[in-house]
């Protein structure tokens, strides 16, 4: 057990690191490509946080790609076809994904273990095929040249500049993603350490018993799944914004599996596991690029070894980490 003061200090260090130290280091070293990589890590970790929450209620979720894809398309269609502001399309994409997940979730969340995992895996494929078939998504050609996000101003005061007017639009995207990541994980931390977190744990450990002590298990499952899908949709929407395009293959089964692996690798018992897992997995893959055709072999070998040696994830090594399961 560590003191709350230490937790606050660690959180503050992390915030300063990602909002000040990292941008400064990038500017100093001239490695501007890192903005895009780190933005990706931040966005992927937001989607993984959603998956982590479904793990926390005892469901193996391999379907986050479906909601990321849906979120990307919803935001894009709103911006391109309806001329809505990108900023407004973000929460709408998240909320529509949450709504979709409630519809899908009520029947499928009754399944447990490998059965839920299989159905969620299929969801990703359903989303891809839907994107191919629906008229509004423009089929395999997808939607490209999405305009960059416009400015946000309040009472004539510009809070966020027009992304198109910035010399490198990846910089504001980096700040947007990192700020959202911080907010998302702060919210998750609060969730897990409130009574709801313990209710989720009771669900994960024994649904029958949870329901006998009066926990409305079907409601709680759907709420957790909706939050998860909201985060998936949000991250997919920003991805579409940053790459200014969306295709049916933007998020595939492989991405869904990666979201799950990020959670495993970071540790299912730790709220901040998905950040660590996403970071390590993303950079680990890139670092192995030099090994050429052995990249996948070494990568998967290391993953298997890590899961054998550290079944509770990388954060189980960290003396500061607060276990929440």
């Amino acid at each position: 057990m560590n003191s709350p003061r230490l937790s606050v200090a660690l959180a503050a260090v992390f915030v300063v690191l990602v909002l000040a130290v990292v941008p400064w280091a990038i500017e100093a070293s001239g490695r501007y490509d890192l903005y895009y990589t780190l933005t990706s890590v931040a966005l992927l970790s937001i989607a993984s946080a959603g998956v982590w929450l479904t793990f926390y209620i005892g469901r193996i979720n391999i379907g986050q790609g479906a909601f990321a894809l849906a979120g990307g398309y919803i935001s894009t269609i709103l911006v391109v076809r309806a001329g809505l502001s990108f900023w407004l399309s973000l929460p709408i994409a998240g909320l529509v994904c949450a709504g979709l997940s409630v519809l899908v979730g009520f029947p499928i969340l009754r399944l447990r273990g490998v059965y839920f995992a299989m159905v969620s895996l299929v969801l990703t494929e359903v989303a891809r095929l839907a994107a191919l078939a629906l008229p509004i998504t423009n089929g395999a050609k997808g939607i490209s040249s999405i305009p960059l996000p416009g400015p946000i101003s309040l009472f004539g005061l510009t809070l966020v500049p027009d992304f198109a007017s910035v010399s490198n639009p990846r910089v504001p995207f980096y700040f947007l993603s990192v700020v959202l990541m911080i907010l998302c994980f702060a919210a998750m931390y609060r969730l897990v350490h409130s009574r709801i977190g313990r209710l989720c744990q009771s669900l994960q450990q024994n649904e029958e018993l949870a329901s006998s002590i009066g926990v409305n298990i079907s409601l709680l499952r759907v709420i957790a799944y909706a939050i998860s899908s909201f985060l998936g949709g949000l991250s997919g929407a920003i991805f579409a914004g940053i790459s200014q395009s969306i295709y049916p293959s933007s998020f595939t089964v492989a991405d869904s599996i990666n979201f799950m692996l990020n959670c495993f690798l970071g540790g299912l018992g730790y709220v901040f596991g998905p950040i660590v897992g996403t970071f390590v997995l993303y950079f680990g893959w890139d670092l192995l690029f030099q090994t050429g055709q052995f990249q996948l072999l070494i990568f998967s070998g290391v993953l298997i070894a890590l899961m054998l040696v550290l079944p509770n994830g990388l954060l189980s090594l960290n003396p500061f980490a607060r276990k929440s399961a």
Binding site: R190, L191, S194, R195, I196, R198, L199, Q201, S202, Q205, N206, E208, L209, S211, S212, I213, G214, V215, N216, I217, I223, A325
Partner: protein, 262 residues
């Protein structure tokens, strides 16, 4: 026990699984503050009856009424909220939670705050939290689990797990507690202690309905006994009556069959 002052009424309750009538037209009443046991040979339908009363399974026909109100067909958590709370056998626990956390979370039924209130730490949520902590400590003391409060539930020995199961039930503030084989797999001394504990729970004002195999314990603890065989009620009465009931003896030991000379 007349129907008018019964706490729980089971009326013509039947449950069909495919071609099998697991429970077949069972009627009985449970009075306030009594200990009623349901016994019967294996496969008599005791477990199904138990699940029907706790509303984990819905009846094919008939109904269960609690304080005159029909509870069959409601979701288990609603039935629990009304005061009909079941316990499980000891394997059904929150394995990775501490004993105290388990009992605290089991107070969920009593909570006054909303989910949003929990999230933002509203005054009601904080008051709940405080009150549940106190109540959990009281229950743990009552069940003799105070020394175990910070241990993981999965690390407790069987006897104490059984007590924890009852603690989980008590936290829900039940009017009637359904106990699923509370004495199974216990030796003589453990059973004696457990019988004593169940009596003390009843003395707190909680009505007890239990399903059990252990005959000596059932005879010792019950005010009344209901005997099931092949899904039907074959006898009901005090332990004294049941021990002398021919039908019960027949169900348990088999009857003389003159055609083959047995």
């Amino acid at each position: 026990m007349s129907a008018a002052d019964a706490l729980l009424q089971v009326k013509g309750l039947s449950k069909r699984f495919g071609g099998v009538l697991a429970v077949n037209g069972v009627d009985f009443n449970v009075g306030e503050s009594e200990i009623l046991s349901v016994i019967g040979p294996n496969g008599a339908g005791k477990s199904t009856l138990f699940k029907l009363i706790a509303s984990f399974v819905h009846p094919s026909s008939g109904e269960v009424r609690f304080r005159g109100e029909r509870i069959s067909g409601l979701a288990p958590h609603i039935v629990a909220r009304k005061g009909v709370v079941r316990t499980f056998q000891e394997t059904t626990i929150f394995r990775n939670m501490s004993v105290r956390d388990t009992v605290i979370i089991a107070h969920h039924l009593r909570s006054t705050a909303s989910l949003g209130g929990y999230y933002f730490g509203s005054a009601a949520a904080r008051a709940d939290e405080k009150q549940f902590g106190r109540s959990a400590d009281e229950i743990l003391g009552f069940l003799g689990l105070a020394a175990e409060r910070d241990k993981l539930a999965s690390s407790l020995p069987h006897g104490l797990l059984r007590a924890l199961g009852i603690g989980i039930g008590l936290a829900a503030n039940p009017a009637i507690l359904l106990l699923d084989e509370p004495f199974a797999g216990m030796n003589h001394d453990e059973t004696k202690k457990a019988v004593d504990m169940v009596r003390r729970v009843r003395d707190r004002g909680v009505t007890i309905l239990l399903v059990e195999h252990d005959m000596p314990a059932v005879m010792k603890i019950s005010d009344r006994i209901v005997v099931l065989n092949f899904g039907q009620k074959i006898a009901e009465g005090t332990p004294f009556d049941i021990q002398r009931n021919d039908k019960v003896i027949e169900a348990y030991l088999g009857s003389d069959d003159p055609t083959i000379g047995l």
